[in-house]
Amino acid sequence: MTSNSFGRFAMAALLTAAAWIAAAPAARANPEAEAFTQRVIDEGISILRENGHGGDPRHTKFHDFIVKYADATSAAMFTLGPYRRGASQADIESFVDAYREYEFSLYARSLDKYKDKALHVTGSVDNKPGDVTVATVVQDDRSTADKALRIAFRLLGSAGNYKFADVQIEGAWISQSQLEQFRSILSRNGGNIPDLTREIKQQTDRIVSGR
């Protein structure tokens, strides 16, 4: 084989390899994240199924469970949008604290509805390193496959150190909805984050009290 033909062969081999790599799907499944998600879901549902009422150890246990596994800070900062620029650290910290309690009240309320149903992990997508979306379905005995509720969880972190950052229900991300709501309020109040924090706290109180 002459040097010219070897060169052409090597180039063809390189181009073929490059094309194969480029054609490989960018998103892959993440079995560790899927196993983690199923385990956490099962743990959360078992807490909710314990006999008890709000305000008792079950409530505290579930609160600790949410704090342990949820990354409220990432979602909170996202929902502030561009209004977080120039905001004081104290205002942001107050907002994040209020957001955390708001999220807990939402999760506690929503997950309580599913405690008698089964949530099964159906797959996952690696969005980028440290960012995974895990898909689940909620089914009860009467629902068929096409009536199963699709819920996806967005995890940030790595194997052994994941946190739940967002939830998607039937294609709609909760954080995106919150972003639009909070931005709407901030645009009307001149970007006043403490005012937004107060509104979130009031809404949390309403949710908790059942009003």
Binding site: Y83, D146, Q181
Partner: protein, 277 residues
């Protein structure tokens, strides 16, 4: 309108950048300040709700009408009809919509889904007693919905500005166009023309609204109870669910961008047809 405004913002910032004097070592001129895009501009660009004032007004009116009429009626409907009967009504309504779904499956180039729709219509209209029983789903032909608004999205048409209409509820320029075209594609539209059968399409529309409302009583109550801005919440959920429908439920490459400095999504949802990716 949205596309023009976005071009204007980009053009303005580009003009500022291009008009900055080129720096030469001997000039030592200070660099031009970066163009300022305010939070409000970013918000207007992302939300595309130029008629928010009137939209919020009609949203408020709809809330009053819903509380006074539609919600109570749907509660009665739900309590009077047992679940199997309501499922039968929904199956029948879905079956009646098959010609519209089939046409849009074809226009989107979804041959397999068009075939499923055709098989479903044939089975359910006969064995399924005019569609009251969804026999086809049990045989492995699940229901799916399509409309011309989704078809326009697949063809590359942007959704345009957001609207909230009295009675109709949330929509967009694209979906409104799709709604009109679908009425033209629907054979039942022509049943009542020029004769005494206008009550057929009207009854179907009323029952459809009632049935849908009855299936979403708790969901909408929950969204309202947990929202700090119910209008903005409905707007966001409408757009995201439409984008999900256009993708036929496939995962979207657009994710809320938790890394961005200002929290703004890098690729805003529902813009420039990420719906179809």
């Amino acid at each position: 309108m949205y596309a023009f405004r976005r071009v204007l913002i980009i053009a303005t910032t580009s003009t500022i950048a291009l008009s900055a004097p080129s720096a030469r070592a001997e000039d030592k001129a200070p660099a031009a300040p970066p163009p300022v895009v305010t939070a409000e501009q970013v918000q207007q660009q992302d939300e595309n709700d130029p008629f928010e004032g009137s939209n919020r007004f009609f949203f408020g009116v709809n809330q009053v009408l819903d509380e006074a009429l539609l919600r109570p009626a749907s509660v009665v409907y739900k309590s009077v009809l047992p679940e199997f009967a309501r499922d039968g009504v929904r199956n029948l309504l879905n079956n009646l919509n098959s010609p519209v779904i089939f046409a849009n499956d074809l226009m989107q180039g979804e041959g397999d889904r068009a075939g499923t729709t055709m098989v479903r219509f044939g089975i359910n209209s006969t064995v399924g007693i005019l569609g009251l029983v969804d026999v086809a789903a049990d045989l492995g032909y699940p229901y799916h919905d399509e409309d011309f608004g989704q078809t326009l999205a697949v063809w590359g048409v942007n959704d345009g500005p957001y609207f909230y209409f009295l009675i109709m509820g949330p929509s967009s320029a694209r979906d409104l166009t799709g709604f009109v075209v679908d009425r033209g594609l629907d054979p039942l539209t022509y049943v009542g023309w020029g004769n005494n059968y206008q009550w057929v399409p009207i009854t179907r529309a009323v029952v459809n609204v009632l049935d849908l409302r009855s299936r979403n009583i708790e969901t909408l109550d929950e969204i309202e109870r947990t929202s700090v801005d119910y209008y903005a919440s409905i707007r966001s959920l409408y757009r995201q669910s439409r984008a999900d429908a256009i993708r036929n439920g496939k995962p979207s490459p657009d994710l809320p961008n938790f890394d961005s400095g200002g929290g703004v999504t890098a690729t805003p949802l529902n813009r420039q047809n990420p719906d179809t990716q």
